[in-house]
């Protein structure tokens, strides 16, 4: 946006944008949620923008945990005790499992920061999400939905984006078992579990994620990162044996092919 010499002109522009209901949630980005992974943060000019909507799609229904854990860890990486508000529907525990606090504690997160809100149906989930994002002071709001979410059309999505921007709340949408569709999200991701680095005796190692940037507002989409969570440093890092994993990239790519390519370009 060009620099406005006159503050009243900028004010008028803002008013005009409000009247015409401009879809673009502009305004300055207050901060970034950094991951700790150097390449990832550099590509996103510092990390996920706060006060914006970010969508995380699970590459497969079985990758729901990876998507949820990635979003939660990004939010819980922020220092302090600001609560993480997690909204889900009543059937989410049956489909994806209960959120398990001892597991979060073992990842280095603080489960006491978690506030779980369970809405009985997707319509109420949207209403609660609208209330939760308007409440400043949370580290982030995670909204977990399963399958197609009919109540979330473009208007509802824009309302969420504007609410998040006005309150400065970061909204992380977990879209599980859903196909990507056009939305006003700042970034859209596809998250899958990645094979971990083996420990001695062939034991599974630290959590590893495979991220693909499907869309980015005002920037180039595309880009894949293999990330590993290091709970001692409380940061993501590169998957140390990425090269050694080349054999497993093939099945991952086969799963990617199942995603509609048109949706990725939306």
């Amino acid at each position: 946006m060009p620099h406005e010499s006159h503050s009243s002109i900028a004010g008028l522009r803002r008013r005009l944008a409000r009247i015409t209901g401009e879809a673009e949630p502009r305004g300055p980005i207050a901060g970034r949620l950094a991951s700790g992974h150097a390449d990832f943060d550099a590509a996103l000019s510092g990390g996920l923008a706060t006060g914006r909507v970010h969508e995380f799609f699970a590459a497969d229904a079985l990758d729901a945990t990876s998507a949820a854990a990635f979003a939660a860890l990004m939010a819980l990486r922020t220092p302090g005790a600001a609560p993480l508000v997690w909204l889900r529907t009543a059937d989410a525990a049956r489909r994806g499992g209960h959120i398990y606090a001892p597991g979060i504690a073992e990842l280095g997160g603080d489960p006491d920061r978690l506030l779980l809100i369970e809405a009985p149906d997707p319509k109420l989930l949207l209403a609660c999400a609208n209330d939760a994002i308007r409440c400043a002071g949370s580290a982030a709001v995670i909204v977990e939905s399963w399958g197609a979410w009919r109540a979330l059309d473009l208007t509802a999505g824009r309302r969420l984006a504007l609410g998040a921007r006005d309150a400065g709340t970061t909204l992380l949408m977990l879209r599980l078992a859903a196909t990507p569709s056009p939305s006003v999200a700042e970034t859209r991701w596809s998250v899958a579990a990645a094979p971990s680095r083996a420990l001695e005796a062939n034991a599974p190692g630290a959590p590893a994620f495979d991220l693909e940037l499907l869309r980015r507002r005002g920037g180039a989409a595309g880009g894949r990162w293999q990330m590993e969570w290091n709970h001692d440093e409380h940061a993501f890092g590169p998957n140390a044996n990425e090269a050694a994993l080349s054999g497993t990239v093939l099945p991952l790519a086969a799963r990617r092919a199942a995603l509609p390519h048109g949706a990725a370009a939306a």
């Binding site: 009543a90 001892p102 597991g103 006491d112 779980l116 809100i117 034991a203 599974p204 001692d232």
Partner: protein, 449 residues
Amino acid sequence: MPLADARARVPDLLVIAHDPVADTAWLDRLALGCNRYTPLVAIDAPDGLILDIAGAEHLFGGEAGLIDDLEMRLSRLGMSVRVALGPTADAARALARYQTRPAPDEDQAVRRLPVAALELEAEATTALVRAGLKTIGDLASRPMANIAARFGAEAASALRRILGDAPSPLAPRIAPPPVATERRFAEPLGSTAHATKVLTELLDEAAAQMRERGKGGRHFRATFFRSDGLARSIEIETGHPTRDTALVMRLFAERMDSLADPLDPGFGFDMIRLAVPRLEAMGATQLKLEGGAVRDAKMDELVDRMTTRLGRGRVRRLIAADTHIPEQAQLALPAIDAPPPLPWERPEPGEPPTRPFHLFDPPQPIEVIAEVPDGPPHQFRWRRQAHAVRRYEGPERIAAEWWRRRDNAGLTRDYYRVEDVQGRRLWLFRHGLYDEKPDPRWYIHGVFA
């Protein structure tokens, strides 16, 4: 008389089955409606109400005025009632149920009651009547020690209660709240909008009372009394003591919006009462310079609003529990009054997490190919999909909590942390050892990040 006989005599007899639960519920509603006269209303099951009107009758033009008002409202609801006033709860109750003859004053009326009013066992009552003691007055003229010796201590104590010599305490349906304000209207209010406005004023008054006492409310109850004698209560709770009228009103509005059957004024509300049954100490709040206190208050408000809208059990925090059984190691408790958090187990440096991010409760059964008896899983089928195990760690053996079980039994679980070829890390367990059970089943209990 059996029903068949009755039907034979009156062929078009209307038969309605006795529904004690509905009767109790109706009596409860009537009791709530009677709260307009006094906060102390006790239910005298199965068909009575006892009102402690001491100090309240002058508001209705004396005892006679109160009785007229009560009879008028209850008859409008189709109730036929017997009303009696007495110096004690037991005396009033006995007069309402057993009085047959008029008497010049209350004392005489009690003395003229039949001994059945003592409600002793049938044998004791018969014995009293056979002894020629037909009324309470007859019995009261005898020495109390003789009555106790002959007819039992129960007869003596019942007599003392009915005469007012011994206290007859009342167990009110709703304990009187520490703070309560109310407003009565000469003309019933027909609209809910007006009613909420009045409620706001009542909240301001209650807030002033609470401020004087240095307290804040945790639980608020608004009762709307309809002119036809019924009443409706709406309650809200807050996570922290509050005196903020706007906040409490928002919660009330939230509650009213989510009611299955909306607040119906009927022919109008003629009284609205606001009670604060639960108070907690609340000092003057000081705002932090960097705005910390304000933000906390916002989160608390979110918890209150969500709890009011969705219910206590749907807005929760996770609290650690001291057990090694995985599904019991966390408690999801209502955030509105969650206990202070307990410390969680911290991760071992350099080790991957040993507990999953998502836990299935109940665990989901899977078909596993594994070595018998103690081998790790090689392959398993879950949700109609085959998974080949590439890496594994285990077993982590978790015994049942036999000391909590009466039969000291329970199956041991062998947990394996496995990773399939696609990189998904899962938590599997075999429920039972081979020497505990002939063919132990395998389950998936969680998914790691």
